[in-house]
């Protein structure tokens, strides 16, 4: 029984977008010139490999289904009306592929690659004596980043944070793109009263500091919804599609605050495009306004959208960590690097220090944000003709 969360759709859409650009890179056009420019940049190519690995991990974590509840005989148990009963836990492809990591839990903290627990406990020796020593691990040497307080594998927890990071980084911008394009183009193209209103709306919205607006929204809407872990009765009832997903709300709310920048950019560019000869010519030929917008304006805005998309990505991933720290990010059941940092903070004051939780989140975040920054710069340089011909 498949389960699709609202945020899964975002990742599917992201994949569709990437496929679209790969196809576009084969044909003549802006994408192809940008791609040939990008290919010369070795650093950008390396970054792209990193990003691809992350996106693939996220995609694996977005394909999920519920297993039937098995009886001891191995048959699926059925309810009174004959329907198969499915477990309320929807495991993703990633959960299944890394099931060893997911299930091989220890008792409590253990250092990376260690073969014994981090804390001393009474251990019974073969000859019957009991001494205080570090107990042997059940799965020695298999925890690449150690285990956390309740013995879960830190590497796996960090791996689960990949989906959250990608969804926040990409999803937020994906959600707002249609709105930003619509309002920006309409305001820039028609001018006058409509322009004044759109400008007023985005100036007012952008006057409220982003973090505070997010906090306000999250306090008001963010306490409900699927937060990872088991599906509730209500969500099980929905069967396949779970629309009320807390992460989705977070994306939407982050989008409301970051919408204004893109809208302003698009409005400015549309103002410029509107006066160009080919637009004037099509106007003189009697092409309708929607026709001009669709055929001549929007295609010429796409590079702005793409640049914004890649440049905003890393900032959003970092923002998620901060929001989770304040306690208004994704729920505790959903893997997130912000939550990891939050718990790791107290572990640093232990003696001796438990450092691997913090290190794990640092490593996973850094390996996403740094390539994203490099790749974003490279895409901007490749798409922005002003920089290219300097």
């Amino acid at each position: 029984m498949p389960v699709i969360l609202a945020t899964d759709l975002i990742v599917y859409f992201l994949v569709a977008m990437i496929v679209y650009f790969i196809i576009g890179a084969g044909k003549e056009g802006t994408v192809k010139t940008a791609w040939s420019e990008l290919r010369k940049n070795r650093l950008a190519m390396v970054s792209m490999v990193f990003l691809a690995v992350y996106v693939m991990t996220a995609v694996m974590d977005c394909v999920r289904w519920r297993d039937p509840v098995l009886m001891t005989s191995g048959e699926a148990s059925r309810s009174t009306d004959g329907g198969v009963i499915y477990s309320p836990q929807a495991l993703s492809l990633l959960d299944r592929a890394a099931s060893k990591m997911r299930l091989n839990a220890e008792k409590t903290y253990s250092a990376p690659f260690s073969d014994h627990l981090f804390t001393k406990e009474p251990v019974e020796l073969p000859d019957g004596r009991v001494v205080r020593d570090y107990p042997k691990l059940k799965f020695p040497g298999t925890h690449w980043l150690g285990t956390d307080k309740v013995g879960n594998d830190v590497f796996f927890i960090a791996l689960k944070g990949v989906r959250t990071g990608i969804v926040i980084g990409a999803g937020t911008t994906i959600i707002i793109i249609p709105f930003a394009i619509f309002f920006g183009v309409v305001a820039g193209f028609h001018g006058g009263f409509i322009d004044d209103i759109v400008q007023y709306v985005y100036t007012t919205l952008s006057s409220i500091p982003g973090v505070l607006l997010i906090v306000a929204f999250m306090l008001l809407f963010g306490n409900s919804g699927y937060q990872g872990g088991l599906l509730s009765q209500k969500e099980v009832f929905l069967r396949i599609f779970v629309p009320n997903d807390r992460l989705f709300w977070l994306c939407l709310i982050l989008g409301i605050t970051s919408w204004t920048d893109l809208c302003r950019l698009i409005r400015g560019e549309t103002l410029k495009l509107r006066e160009l000869e080919y637009v004037q010519a099509s106007k003189a030929f009697g092409v309708s306004s929607p026709g001009i917008i669709y055929r001549h304006i929007v295609p010429n805005l796409m590079h702005l959208v793409l640049i914004t998309f890649v440049l905003q990505f890393s900032g959003l991933v970092l923002a998620e960590a901060v929001l989770s720290y304040i306690g208004i990010g994704v729920g505790p059941e959903m893997g997130s690097w912000g939550n990891m940092i939050n718990t790791a903070r107290l572990e640093l004051s232990r003696e001796p220090v438990v450092w691997w939780n913090l290190f794990g989140s640092f490593l996973f975040m850094f390996a996403l944000v740094l390539p994203a920054n490099i790749f974003g710069d490279a895409v901007r340089d490749a798409l922005d003709p002003r920089l290219r011909y300097r």
Binding site: L205, S207, I208, S314, A321, I341, L348, N373
Partner: protein, 326 residues
Amino acid sequence: MLTYIIRRILYAVPIVIGVNVLTAVLFFYVNTPDDMARKTLGEKNVTPAAIENWKRDHGYNLPTFLNAKETGVSTVTQTIFFQKSVPLLWFDFGRSDRNNIDIGGEIKKRMWASLAVSIPMFLIGILIDLTFAMILAYYRGTYLDIWGVVLAVIMMSVSTLFYIIGGQFVLGKVLKMFPVSGYDTGLYSVKFVILPVIIGIIGGIGVGVRFYRTVFLEEINKDYIRTARAKGLSEARVLFKHALKNAMIPVLTNVVVSIPFLFYGSLIMETFFAIPGLGNFTIDAIQSQDFAIVRSMVYLGSILYIIGLILTDISYTLVDPRVRFE
């Protein structure tokens, strides 16, 4: 000049009103007083009577925007919006929902702690960022520049949280150079302030240096610089006398807008270092779900931003004679 300033302030009035209405809609309409009462009272104590009591005690027992029971002016004034949100326009913040403290007085009191951290962080930070950016611009194209930029990109790829946690751990706990967190009155607070200032500056260096370097490089490619070089001026003189002056214009937009925000401090910094400033106040309110405080702080933050924009425009006209007052 004066007429320009007055007109610029008048432009801001509809935006201030817009922010006020938006916060009111968010906090009173989307999240009704009933919801607020329920969240404050907790799941266990919710009875219709308790909710009514809470609403009456905190002044939320009125209609949101229009009071149909009253006549004349009172239909507008006897509403939550008029009683709670409109006074914000003249900075009357009212009282908090939970402990019934005077929010305005609390803001005045806590402002100084925020300023004690944010002003040194801001000034020293800009100085350091500009210096590094100028060094990189001076040696542009060399290995120093390339590796400097790489380092800046690496530094901006690390979350602020890591800088804070790492800084507290290394400088505070291991090297024991500064107290890890806390605050004191008067001059005694200095030793508590140094660590957040250092960490804040280090955390901001990556973004700052890269931005200012781009600004300088853009300026260096302009015609008047070529003229200055052609005249035979030394590179240092070209850079520090001619380019720097003109580069200050884009730098100003970036800098002036954040000056009013210094009052506000930093949400995360202040909680990590237990500095009793406004950022800390806000986070506490968020965690205890005190909507009156959160609403006041959202509004205050917006006003500070709008003031920042006005200051930016005014400083533009002062620095750049090409910008006219119309």
